[in-house]
Symmetry: C2
Subunit: 244 residues, 2 copies
Amino acid sequence: MDKSDFSHHYIQRFNAELEKVRTDTLAMGGLVEQQLADAVQSLVRRDPELARQVIANDVKVNGMDVKVDELCTSILARRQPTASDLRLILTVLRTTTDLERIGDEAKRVARMAVSTSSSTDARSVFLEIEHLGEQVREMLHDALNALARFDVEAALAVADQDSRVDREYENILRQCITYMMEDPRTIPFVLDIIWAARSLERIGDRCCNICEYLIYFVKGRDVRHTDLREIESELKQERSSGIN
Amino acid sequence: MDKSDFSHHYIQRFNAELEKVRTDTLAMGGLVEQQLADAVQSLVRRDPELARQVIANDVKVNGMDVKVDELCTSILARRQPTASDLRLILTVLRTTTDLERIGDEAKRVARMAVSTSSSTDARSVFLEIEHLGEQVREMLHDALNALARFDVEAALAVADQDSRVDREYENILRQCITYMMEDPRTIPFVLDIIWAARSLERIGDRCCNICEYLIYFVKGRDVRHTDLREIESELKQERSSGIN
């Protein structure tokens, strides 16, 4: 094997490793999305069995997190990537941390499902929790799709959804406060609903984090503490002046 | 300058950069610790001015986070560290993310301080919030000290404190539920107290994260999803058999 063959082979293997990191991250995202969907269903349908399954499955999420992290660390140590390869690894490391924490929030929702499952209280707030859960799941799904396609515009659209999620959460919170004031005996039960709603709202925030990491990867700029509307208007300017 | 001079110079500059990363992280930790202390004081003493100061100072925390992250990324790209140098950079990247989020929680506590400041309700639960705040601040302080000295045993001791913090939080939560049931008009006010307590409890969790990263750095092992008591008993075994 001459030198150019070697370097070709080396680059091929490196690319295969980067591709594996990316597919493993998306697979982890898929599992977390399922956990989130199951957690919300277990709460809304009062299904403690499904909730216990979500709680038990969290070790799988953790295992995938450790696996991807180890692969990233090993690539950093052996391949010493620079420029966009380095940014990809850092993006993945940050993304899996947030995915793992989204898994933790799903587990919290499932715990609230176990805790509220024996109650016969069938308030309309469960419908709104289901709706909030669907919105947040859509955010996660779209964030993972944006990551799969390295699509900054899709990432910005996810961030746009977050204000809707926040409003929905505030709405559920107000409704819960009214329930508690009307009938103080329901306070422990309604608090569990509030915790679940708050976990869902936090998942929305974490989806935004993932989108910010993706923008960092594509644009090479840390936008974590930037107003994303600035990035949006920049993108529009770039499009209108033909830069890509 | 001959070759060995060059490599000596290179290593010196590299070490200076690693040292800067470490001191910047500790400086960021110091600021976050102050933010936490001020946030708790603003809540307990009903001081909305101090609370607004905490909220305004959060941009400083974010700025330090971005600065340390940029330095780490630049070191990864230019110096391509391996082994313990690489682990140090990864430990710092993870630590600053948690410090930044601890800053966010302190800001949330400060917001609750603004929101509750006009109330004349002087319940004993504020004393317990103050105590919880002190415990969590101590955890953060000890975690940063452990990081400054690369001290695994000190890190394990921080993790031990977390169960006390969790118990204290549960205790405050129970007390708040009783308040709300006794006088439903206080529900919005007491919910604010609950949010603040929950933020403090989450800060305790994040201090544990920082300690886990430190153990990863020193032991070269990812312990994020491991029971820390296992590491503790390993350490004891190592000590008794004289391994270090």
